[in-house]
């Protein structure tokens, strides 16, 4: 048994230590908001925060993050960055199929937590690791800028 701290709650997990955090969240803890897209840290659909830093959960063995603060899409709305981002996402109708958007919001939230008023270049740099096959990039960029303005 390994205990994880997910969205501020302790959660006990009985799984092999090499199991990626993604599959612990999804299959063991039933938190399915974090998505599987590539399994190789190439697409960003599985992005979560570990101690506030964006991390690709598909390539992070869960035992390695025991004792660290893990935040997922289910918990990001409790942060001020997550809240303004989710509102901006809805206001701009960013999602299409929506499958990548949890990861997009998690990457954006990590950016805004670090840089409150990012430049376009900083947004592009922070978000280019997240793939969206529906091509919602321009709306993502717009929503991040809008959320940044709404961040008190």
């Amino acid at each position: 048994m390994i205990t994880l701290n997910v969205n501020g709650k302790p959660m006990s997990v009985d799984a092999d230590a090499d199991t990626p955090l993604l599959w612990v969240l999804r299959d063991h803890l039933g938190m399915t908001g974090t998505k599987y897209g590539c399994g190789m840290a190439l697409c960003g659909a599985c992005t979560v925060h570990v101690n506030g830093q964006p991390a690709r959960s598909c390539s992070t063995p869960f035992a390695a993050v025991a004792g660290k603060r893990i935040t997922t899409i289910e918990g990001i709305g409790q942060t001020k960055e997550g809240r303004v981002l989710q509102e901006a996402w809805v206001a701009n109708d960013v999602p299409q199929c929506g499958y990548c958007q949890s990861g997009q919001i998690m990457s954006a939230a990590a950016l805004l937590a670090k840089v409150k008023r990012p430049t376009d270049a900083e947004i592009e740099s922070a978000m280019s690791g997240n793939v969206c096959r529906c091509g919602t990039y321009n709306r993502i960029s717009l929503a991040v800028r809008q959320a940044s303005r709404n961040l008190k």
Partner: protein, 728 residues
């Protein structure tokens, strides 16, 4: 451990077909419900008004629209409810969307006859009157119920934004207050639809019903379904198409903690485990020997070489106008160009997956369900059941781009075979990894195009010969009889055989060689290649005739007013006649234009590119004009234009699935590269005003961007682009 409760929507089977009226206790399923105000649905009490198969009005005033088409990103869960809400005079905040069950008697696609399915950019177009009538019928019943309750003439009552009002007596009611009484009234058989000038919602921007659930992680996709006792299956597939398992050693796989079983199925070996990671480790430990005597072993280079030889010979005629040999004989100038297109994978963000639960007399499936009328019989055939014994739950799809409408129900059949192999003792979730998904075939076919055109002494286009070589998508499918005529697969030549330009002597021919690589429709289907070859060749012809590419097209489109209109719109928005300025010394800039019709929608785009001194390049800006009839939701149209451009640009810049000795060389996003934010151009979308019935928007922007960009690069560098992906 927690499991989402997924409620079977087939409960709706108790409704009578068509306009039958039923009182029912409606239990919404979180997996299916989406509304503008919230992620999940609200509970509807007994006594709901259900005037038809498409609308349910709860006593809490929520209006649930049962959507017969898959929501895969294109906006059906917003567009179809808009039509209902318009005629119902509902307030948009009341509206919820719910996926329909498989039942072609009520939920067929009116453009596909008796078939239920989503594709060909038809969802909104085929539903335009049907869904409006459904809303109008519900409205008439609410109105009649209010008139009866208040004992006033119906025409003295108004309904607007969800409020039923009798102004003379200052009485008001909500839909919910009238639902029970309205449910007892007869369903009107003939309803009058609004005059478009009275539309309150159609033509306005309304927020998507699924945005919130898709922004907070609560939207449920097939990948998120977990049933009690469910096993996750991963399958070891043969390395080449047409291979089969010869023998396998499951000992090491079974030794992996969590692995429950290993079973052979016709096209591979499945490892079943309690969870994904255990199944993955089990599959990694599995040793399989493959039978490859019937496997396909050619590489892309050999396939293309064969296509080139074929293109030197006449193909079957797809279109013939005038006297082509005569025209070439008198042409002052003749141009030829050949084009090469690779296989393309759909690469949806959610790799293919589905959940199958078997019982003695039924099979229930959870899926991003796109083609009910194909999937039901294909799955039933595996089990020896009747199609109606297969229940299909339609969940949000994490993209499709055509992939989930597989004409052989490939991954559903695979999952069903696994469930059958374990005698249905547990529900099975089949999950393909990204690598499985990318190597599973069902690609956009490879194509080779050979074009030849003749100009007269004045530079007029007098002759056009177009030969296309590539696999038939429809051969061997249920659509072959319907859409393959005289050996011509309509999807191989669409966009070429209906070339919109006025050319007096024209021939389009087709070769359809058979290859062992499974192929399938891919967002905009035939137009993915025909738009490119025709629209880039046209720029070469414009140059040869000394004319401006925009004006050259414009003159040839005198009898195609929709094409001409969007072409002019895009050119105007791009300030076509004003030269581009380079930001840095040594940068070359170029502007390119293209116009193409697909799925009855016409799109024109102007792309602006910058080519840097080191040869790298980017698309700076795209102006996109579209004529799609009545613009039901302009923002969804804009989103689909942006999406189609990104999808087409991905293929133009990076997309290629290649084979070496029959083995697919790509496996994941590092070698099959998607467009990323740093490559995304700025996009302006301009919608032509129209009072014609709406046509589709999911696909038509896709085929236009590659030729627009190639033409822009041609303008910048002077070198034509004749193969995709683009290399300069």
């Amino acid at each position: 451990m927690s499991a989402f409760e997924i409620i079977n929507l087939s409960r709706r089977g108790f409704l009578k077909a068509g306009a039958g009226l039923t009182l029912g206790v409606a239990v919404p399923s979180l997996a299916q419900m989406a509304g503008p105000g919230k992620g999940g649905g609200s509970v509807v009490a007994a006594g709901a008004l259900e005037p038809n198969a498409f609308v349910r009005i709860g006593t809490d005033s929520t209006v649930t629209v049962i959507v017969k088409h898959l929501e895969m990103g294109q906006g059906t869960y917003t567009g179809l409810p808009t039509l209902v809400a318009e005629e119902l005079d509902a307030d948009w905040s009341q509206i919820r969307a719910e996926g329909a069950p498989a039942d072609a008697s009520r939920y067929n696609n009116l453009f596909l006859g008796a078939m239920q399915g989503t594709g060909g950019s038809t969802a909104l177009a085929n539903s335009y009157e049907q869904m409006r009538k459904a809303g109008a019928a519900a409205r008439a019943m609410l109105l009649a119920a209010a008139a009866e309750r208040w004992a006033v003439p119906p025409d003295s009552i108004t309904i607007a934004r969800g409020a039923v009002v009798h102004a003379p007596s200052n009485r008001k009611a909500t839909f919910g207050q009238l639902a029970v009484a309205a449910a007892k009234l007869p369903v009107p058989q003939d309803v009058k639809l609004k005059d478009p000038k009275d539309f309150a919602l159609i033509g306005r921007r309304l927020t998507r019903t699924d945005s919130r659930a898709k922004s907070n992680g609560t939207a449920i996709y097939t990948q998120d379904v977990k049933l009690p006792g469910m096993l996750t299956a991963l399958v070891a597939h043969p390395p080449r198409f047409g291979g089969k398992p010869k023998s396998f050693d499951a000992d090491k796989a079974k030794a992996v903690k969590g692995v429950v079983d290993v079973v052979a199925i016709p096209q591979g070996v499945a490892v079943l485990a309690s969870d994904f990671w255990s199944a993955k480790k089990g599959r990694d430990a599995l040793a399989v020997e493959w039978e490859e005597s019937g496997a396909f072993k050619l590489g892309s280079a050999e396939i293309m070489a064969g296509y080139k030889s074929l293109a030197a010979t006449p193909g079957l005629p797809a279109r013939k106008e005038g006297d082509l040999p005569g025209a070439f004989a008198r042409a002052a100038k003749t141009l030829e160009a050949a084009y090469e297109f690779p296989y393309l994978a759909h690469a949806c963000m959610e790799p293919m997956n589905c959940v199958v639960k078997l019982s003695a007399d039924a099979c229930e499936i959870w899926n991003g369900e796109q083609f009910q009328s194909i999937d039901q019989p294909e799955v039933a055939a595996v089990l020896g059941m009747k199609p109606e014994q297969v229940k299909l739950n339609m969940l949000f799809a994490g993209g499709s781009f055509g992939r989930r409408a597989n004409p052989h129900a490939d991954y559903l059949v695979e999952a069903t075979q696994i469930a059958k192999a374990i005698d249905g003792r547990a529900p099975v979730k089949l999950v393909w990894t990204r690598e499985d998904d990318m190597r599973a075939g069902h690609y956009r076919p490879m194509y080779y195009h050979a074009l030849k055109a003749g100009l007269d002494a004045q530079g007029n286009l007098i002759a056009w010969q177009h030969r296309i070589v590539g696999q038939s998508i429809l051969a061997g499918t249920a659509f072959e009889g319907m859409m393959v005529k005289d050996g011509i697969d309509a999807t191989s030549v669409e966009g070429a055989a209906n070339l919109p330009y006025a050319v007096p002597n024209l021939g389009v021919e087709l070769h359809s060689p058979k290859m062992g690589v499974p192929v399938q429709w891919w967002r905009s289907v035939g137009s993915t290649h025909t738009a490119f070859s025709t629209e880039t060749f046209l720029d070469e012809l414009a140059l040869a005739s000394g004319k401006d590419p925009y004006q050259f097209r414009r003159a040839l489109l005198a009898k195609s007013p929709r094409h001409k209109t969007v072409l002019e719109m895009a050119a105007t928005e791009a300030d076509w006649s004003t030269p581009l300025v380079s930001a840095r010394v040594g940068d070359r800039r170029g502007r390119g234009i293209a116009v193409h019709e697909s799925f009855n929608t016409v799109v024109a785009q102007v792309a602006e590119v910058t080519v840097r001194r080191d040869g790298s390049w980017r698309v700076d800006r795209v102006m996109c004009a579209v004529d799609c009839g009545v613009a039901v939701n302009p923002d969804v149209i804009r989103a689909q234009m942006e999406s189609g451009i990104a999808f087409g640009l991905t293929a133009a810049m990076h997309g290629a699935i290649t084979l070496k000795d029959g083995v697919v060389e790509q496996s994941n996003f590092h070698d099959y590269m998607p467009l990323r934010m740093n490559e995304m151009p700025r996009i302006g979308v301009y919608i032509a005003r129209s009072s014609e019935k709406p046509t589709g928007v999911g696909e038509p922007a896709t085929p236009v961007i590659a030729p627009a960009v190639a033409n822009a690069l041609f303008a910048a560098t002077g070198k034509p682009i004749r193969a995709l992906p683009i290399k300069i």
